[in-house]
């Protein structure tokens, strides 16, 4: 079983798997999808992004949305094939954990 990804990294990958996003959009997206359970601080976000760029999980996207909508400072990020692979490996690991839990008679807690 592969080792687990840091939570922030995994959420960023999931967010970018949907579409290219800039930093603040990633934070907003994660908040929305986790019902405000996970609020990434900007420092954690950009430190994760820096490391993910180095590890080749994501790249800076050359594309920008229509000029009117875009703030010049914003950089957009896109997930790479190896980023997708890493996210899938993590999903498989989590699925495996759930299977093992079920076999032992444990069911996920319902919200």
């Amino acid at each position: 079983m592969s080792s687990s990804l840091p939570a922030a990294t995994f959420h960023i990958l999931l967010s970018l798997a949907e579409e290219e996003r800039h930093g603040y959009a990633i934070i907003k997206d994660i908040e929305a999808s986790t019902n405000d359970e996970l609020r990434l601080s900007p420092g954690t976000l950009y430190r994760s992004i820096q490391r993910m760029l180095e590890e080749g999980l994501i790249v800076e996207s050359g594309r920008r949305p229509a000029r009117a909508l875009d703030d010049e400072r914003r950089r957009y990020y896109r997930i790479t094939p190896s980023g997708i692979a890493a996210a899938r490996a993590e999903l498989r690991r989590l699925a495996e954990m759930i299977r093992i839990g079920r076999e032992r008679g444990l069911k996920p807690e319902m919200p």
Binding site: G23, T44, Q50, R73, R75
Partner: protein
């Protein structure tokens, strides 16, 4: 608000800030609108501080990983750098720790800088021991001191704790130990309150542990010291050494009226503690005034008798001080060399890395990022080297123990001084930083080459200085060892039976003991001769007495070293007879006149061009007649000025008189190993007195070697340092030239294409190396001669600019330089015109 956040962002590495700063600010802005300002600030701090640390840590990890990879690929650079840093830091930490320990650190007594030693001096000579009467008068007159105390050395035989052993004891006046101020570990120290007679003892920690098995109930026990019962009243803590290193116990010294009778009976040492607010200068002035008053009061005995006052700390010989300082100088030289070489290494590496660095710059790495990486590397090298250096210092310090004078009240082995360590580490760190950064500064190659050349010159200078000073000291020690000691120590063994008082106060008891032991020893197979003497030459250096000759004024220098001997002493030590006879059986206590053998210089001084045999003089309260003249002996050691010698027959002294001169050392001339005769000698001694311990069994050559031991230790250290310096310089030259050849391959190739011969190319490289060597050597010789002048006292007459030493050092350095040049020169000669041009 945003200004505060921007300031906070400075915690991030600048590259990170440049990349994400704007977006971070933007997000902060949006968030701040959602919450209250204090909460925004708090969460900003909670976010930035840990994340900034983490980013820095990421970079550090990257840099270290990168370094590890480069070092693994080329370990030579890292290992050399670490070794050089370790040498620099190690040598300095060791040498300066020693210096600090011996010369600077306060003695381990409370307020130790307020403790003063006081001596008498005659006509500016001295320091001399003091008489109890003098001490009594000082004590009564002096106002500068909170207390005065006195002590004297003695030996005690401890009997009844296993085999009898001989102890070094110090007799102290009851006010001495409270004045020193170190509290006991157990029981009490000797004080006026608990002292009525000389029947108590305070044990040293060593003695307590070794002989009394650390018995916690030792206080109150009665032990027999040299036959007399003493009650143990206390045990001192570990690390208490007073007045010098090897003292086993302290017993009280109580003066009787008789002790005060003779003002010239000098055998005590005086120590004082300054009263509050009094400076040592005031005390010195007062003591001088007291000396003047006593001179008026006792014109007979106190004429020209002065008082010397020194801090207890400063009781260290000039020679010993110089030995330690010279070592420090040498260590500084090594530190300088280490810095120069590290700088040179880093510069060379910087050039070979310019390619790597330009590629990384092209790939987008910022310059500050590169500087940071170089910074990390330099620091790491310094830290690793420093760690090895401390280890080095820690392992070498015990070897430096020989340089710690035994006469200081401190432990044997110096401990590492962390201030010194910090200083050396800082210096190395700075060097590493300064030169480690050069690659990032993008200086032209020519500047770097000039810098490296200057560094090589420095290295050669340092090694020449070390070589010359080590060479001069080597010549000095050769000169000293070439001095005839006046006796032959090869084939002489010695051991000590220190006869205790009062048992052996009567002369007859002693003579019986000597006769029984000596008759037995002489009868053993393989023993050529044997005799007893007061003390061995070069070990017992004191024992000076005035020779009073009828009709000769007392003011004339008449001091001689006085020894009591049994028949056969001169034969055993092969001290040659010039005239007359040896002391023999006739010379017993009741046979007048008493017999004395004097040394040549005594005869020459007092009876020039006359026959001294039959002349009479007074010494040690007795009249003696010269019966023989022998050769002079270097009693005080090979390097020192020596008084002439007078030897008196062991039995020809009054009972209980001058017991400090009782013969205690047995000398035996034999070619047999001790295993063959020592058991018999032990039996003989036990047969003469079952309670008599034997100690100090060793060849006489060891005693003689002890005379020059500190010198030899220092010479060995200096030689090692000089060799290291030479090696570093050689490596430096080699590195510089190798590098220059690699850089100039193209130029050399063109020269070759234009018709230059390999030999010409070779000599071009050699010339460059030798040019730097000669420049360094010239500066080195000048510096070395200046340094040598300052340590003239150690050179024993070898001139500081001794041409042979200088030539030898130059030759050694030149050879090393040539060896360093050969490989690069050959490589240059092998450059093919075609390859060079292709590569270029």
């Amino acid at each position: 608000m945003i200004g505060f956040y921007r300031a906070l962002l400075r915690l991030y590495p600048s590259a990170f800030r440049a990349e994400y700063g704007a977006e971070l600010c933007e997000i902060f802005d949006e968030r701040a609108r959602e919450t209250s300002p204090p909460r925004a600030v708090a969460s900003a701090i909670a976010d930035v501080v840990p994340n900034a640390l983490a980013v820095h840590f990421d970079i550090l990890r990257q840099d270290l990983r990168f370094m590890w990879r480069t070092m693994r690929r080329a370990p030579g650079f890292a290992l050399t750098a670490i070794a050089i840093v370790a040498l620099g830091i190690g040598a300095n930490t060791a040498a300066f720790s020693l210096a600090d320990f011996v010369l600077l650190r306060p003695l381990p007594f409370p307020d130790s800088d307020r403790l003063l030693r006081m001596w008498n001096s005659t006509d500016g000579s001295g320091p001399n021991d003091v008489s109890p009467a003098e001490y009594r008068d000082w004590k009564a007159m002096a106002k500068s001191f909170r207390a005065l105390g006195a002590y004297s050395f003695t030996q005690q035989n401890l009997v009844g704790q296993g085999a009898p052993i001989r102890l070094t004891a110090v007799r102290v006046t009851p006010d001495l130990m409270p004045l020193v101020g170190v509290p006991p570990l157990l029981g009490s120290v000797i004080t006026p309150a608990n002292t009525r007679a000389e029947d108590t003892a305070v044990l040293s920690n060593d003695l307590w542990r070794n002989q009394f098995a650390s018995d916690p109930n030792v206080v109150g026990r009665v032990v027999r010291l040299s036959g007399a019962p003493h009650t143990v009243i206390g045990v001192m803590p570990r690390g208490f050494h007073f007045p010098e290193r090897h003292v086993d116990l302290w017993t009280p010294m109580v003066f009787t009226p008789q002790n005060y009778e003779d003002r010239t009976d000098t055998y005590i040492h005086v120590l004082g503690r300054l009263a509050p607010g009094v400076t040592s200068e005031t005390a010195r002035a007062e003591m001088n005034a007291i000396a003047a008053r006593l001179e008026q009061q006792y014109p007979d005995t106190n004429k020209d008798l002065g008082i010397i006052t020194t801090r207890l700390r400063d009781q260290i010989g000039r020679g010993q001080r110089l030995l330690v300082l010279a070592l420090c100088g040498a260590a500084l030289c090594i530190l300088l060399l280490a810095c120069a070489n590290l700088a040179s290494l880093l510069l060379a590496r910087g050039v070979s890395r310019s390619r790597e660095l330009s590629i990384r710059t092209a790939l987008g790495a910022g310059r500050d990022r590169l500087v940071r990486q170089l910074f990390t590397e330099s620091i790491l090298l310094a830290v690793l080297g420093g760690a090895v250096g401390v280890l080095l210092a820690w392992t070498t310090l015990p070897f430096l123990a020989r340089l710690v004078p035994q006469t200081l009240p401190i432990a044997e082995t110096p401990s590492i001084d962390f201030r010194v360590l910090g200083f050396a580490a800082a210096l190395i760190g700075l060097t590493g930083l300064a030169f480690g950064m050069v690659p990032a500064l993008r200086k032209p190659d020519s500047t770097r080459h000039r810098m490296r050349s200057a560094l090589v010159v420095t290295e050669v200078t340092c090694s020449i200085v070390l070589l010359i000073t080590a060479g001069l000291l080597m010549r000095a020690i050769w000169r000293i060892q070439a001095i005839e000691p006046g006796f032959r120590y090869e084939g002489v063994m010695t051991l000590r039976t220190a006869l205790p008082l009062p048992k052996y106060g009567p002369v007859a008891a002693r003579e019986r003991f000597y006769k029984q032991v000596l008759d037995g020893v002489r009868a053993l197979p393989g023993i050529e001769s044997a005799a007893y003497v007061t003390g061995l030459p070069m070990e017992r250096t004191g024992g000076i007495w005035g020779m009073e000759i009828p009709g000769v004024p007392k003011s004339e220098d008449n001091s001689v070293s006085l020894r009591y001997v049994t028949p056969g002493y001169f034969a055993t030590l092969s001290i040659p007879f010039r005239r007359g006879r040896d002391i023999d059986q006739r010379d017993a206590q009741n046979h007048r006149p008493y017999a004395a053998v004097i040394s040549e210089s005594a005869a020459k001084r007092h009876w020039p061009n006359q026959d001294p045999i039959g002349r009479r003089f007074k010494i040690a309260m007795e009249e003696v007649e010269v019966v023989g003249v022998v050769g002079d002996v270097k009693v005080r050691g090979l390097e020192r000025a020596n008084e002439p010698q007078v030897y008196v027959a062991s039995g020809q002294v009054a009972d209980e008189s001058i017991t400090g001169y009782i013969p205690q050392d047995l000398v035996i001339r034999t070619d047999l190993p001790p295993a063959q005769w020592l058991p018999s000698v032990r039996q003989l001694v036990a047969g003469a007195d079952a309670e008599q311990p034997i100690s100090h069994i060793r060849p006489l050559s060891e005693v003689v070697a002890g005379d020059t031991a500190p010198r030899r230790v220092q010479l060995r250290l200096l030689t090692i340092l000089a060799i290291i310096a030479l090696l570093i310089a050689g490596v430096g030259i080699h590195g510089l030239l190798s590098f220059a050849v690699a850089q100039r391959t193209k130029e050399i190739g063109i020269r070759r294409a234009l018709g230059a011969q390999p030999r010409g190319v070779m000599s071009m490289i050699l010339r460059e190396g030798l040019r730097l060597t000669i420049a360094g050597a010239i500066i080195g010789v000048v510096v070395a001669v200046l340094v040598a002048r300052s340590m003239n006292a150690l050179l024993f007459g070898v001139p500081p600019a001794d041409p042979e030493t200088i030539l030898a050092a130059l030759a050694l350095c030149l050879v090393t330089a040539v060896i360093g040049c050969i490989r690069p020169a050959l490589r240059a000669a092998r450059v093919q015109p075609s390859t060079a041009l292709r590569e270029g």
